[in-house]
């Protein structure tokens, strides 16, 4: 329980916990999905499940972009990096994600040049400094990072940089939530909405969840009390028979989002007809590609991309974890063959993946594992 002891506002958390428990109807089970990997991290780090009554289960959703990228896209990136004159750049999070023939580090050991960068702007600087190389940025992330890629493409166009391009893997959160709502595997009672994505897209895009599916959603901040407060707001909606979009994180998230960011995305990118998500399969209009107006910055047009679909390793159950059907510890290889040091699946690679978060923190704080298996 050492992590729980560090929890700053434990008294306030216990008070919220009592209010949440007071709203539970006897005999009813509640399942809420936290969409964002950052929330998953907080929940395990602070043992928040211990503050909730047994009838409430938190399901970890697909909101970790590193986790949902399919193996084939890693292979494609490595294939691009192997082409003559290419210098690939990537966020550090991606470096250890396994492709079918190894990860980016393995690929570098065999001669490719895949460099870690903090920002797509660093990648653009690498391009300026290496005019004799084709610098490709491995773009990944939801709407939190897509504006940064978009602004970088606009900057490259303005400066007339000829040796910079983007291998675009940006995905959008709404189609993934819809896929989960339409999935027969899982019955959810509500959603803890992503905080930072909502800074960009605002709260309005979630209205279909409340109106068409009749489920409450509360956009939440990342601190332990934010999450407990959001669960209380969800329970209150259920108690009062409401299904609405509410914003617990209004101190950071404006209802309308960031219009400058949305305009930059719309200017430089367009929806793909479909995109494969690890665990969720192919989802229509769920990802972005570089708009044809900016075709000279689109690595998929400049380089050969095999685009071969690669099945996950048989032992890996990331797909079931990402859909919320399995808890991390229910996966056959969790903590044995698959650990953060030697990950088999993506959920163990990213610190925001449900498996890594649980491996690093959750198993120390969890005192009530047994009830959590999903019936």
């Amino acid at each position: 329980m050492r992590f729980v002891d560090e929890f700053r506002d434990a008294d306030k958390a216990r008070a919220l916990s009592a209010k949440i428990t007071g709203l539970c109807e006897p005999g009813r089970e509640y399942k809420f999905m936290e969409v964002c990997g950052g929330h998953t991290h907080t929940i395990y780090k602070h043992g928040l499940e211990d503050y909730l009554p047994e009838s409430i289960t938190l399901i970890h959703g697909p909101g970790c972009p590193v986790c949902v990228i399919p193996m084939g896209r890693i292979d494609d990136a490595i294939h691009i990096a192997r082409q003559p004159g290419v210098l690939m750049t990537s966020f550090g999070d991606m470096m250890r994600v396994p492709g079918s023939g190894g990860n980016f580090f393995d690929s570098n050991a065999e001669g490719t040049n895949i460099r870690m960068v903090y920002s797509p702007l660093d990648s653009l600087k690498v391009a300026r400094q290496n005019p004799d190389r084709q610098v490709v940025f491995m773009a990944i992330g939801f709407e939190t990072t897509a504006p940064s890629t978009a602004m970088t493409v606009l900057r490259a166009a303005k400066e007339g940089i000829e040796n910079f391009s983007v291998f675009c893997n940006h995905i959008t959160i709404i189609p993934a939530i819809k896929a989960i709502l339409d999935s027969p595997d899982l019955r959810l009672d509500g959603f803890i909405g992503p905080g930072h994505v909502s800074t960009v897209i605002g709260c309005r895009p979630y209205e279909f969840i409340a109106h068409d599916y009749g489920k409450p959603i509360v956009v939440a901040g990342f601190e332990p009390l934010d999450i407990l407060q959001s669960i209380y707001m969800l329970m209150l909606q259920l108690k009062e028979g409401r299904s609405e979009v509410e914003n617990q994180y209004s101190r950071v998230v404006p209802w309308e989002g960031n219009l400058t960011a949305l305009r930059a995305i719309a200017e430089t990118m367009e929806l793909r007809p479909y995109f494969e998500w690890r665990g969720l399969g192919f989802i229509s209009h769920s990802a972005l590609q570089v708009r044809s107006k900016y075709a000279k910055f689109d690595a998929e047009l400049l380089f050969d991309v095999p685009g071969v679909r690669v099945a996950d390793p048989k032992a890996c159950q990331c797909g079931e974890v990402l859909k919320g059907v399995l808890k991390p510890w229910e996966c056959k290889v969790f903590g044995t063959a698959c650990t953060p040091e030697t990950p088999i699946g993506t959920c163990m690679v990213s610190p925001e993946g449900a498996c890594a978060a649980y491996y690093n923190f959750g198993r120390f704080t969890r005192t009530r594992v047994r009830e959590a298996s999903i019936s």
Binding site: P65, Y118, G141, P147, T199, V200, F222, R251, T260
Partner: protein, 90 residues
């Protein structure tokens, strides 16, 4: 990569008004503030930074709370700060 990290604006670069020098846990680096074009950003303001771009303005209390939270989560934040330290966008 997914972490939003709070930084305090030190100065707006005179030759590039879309860039600002910020202080994140003592690390001083240039970031892009072009996504806050609709708001006035000035020294002393706090912003939430994602991969080198300020995505929103926040107040000082929120920044302090967010910082305390991030410092508590350990390695993921250390990695983010290390990456920021290596960042040289100008």
């Amino acid at each position: 990569m997914c972490l939003g990290i709070p930084g305090e604006v030190i100065e707006i670069l005179t030759d590039r008004p879309d860039l600002a020098r910020v202080d994140v846990s003592g690390v001083k680096r240039a970031i892009n503030i072009g996504l806050l074009a609709d708001e006035e950003v000035k020294p002393g303001d706090w912003v939430l930074i994602h991969v080198g771009f300020a995505l929103s303005k926040i107040d000082e209390d929120e920044a302090k709370a967010a910082m305390e939270f991030l410092e508590g989560i350990g390695k993921a934040y250390d990695d983010e700060i290390a990456a920021l330290r290596d960042s040289q966008i100008v």
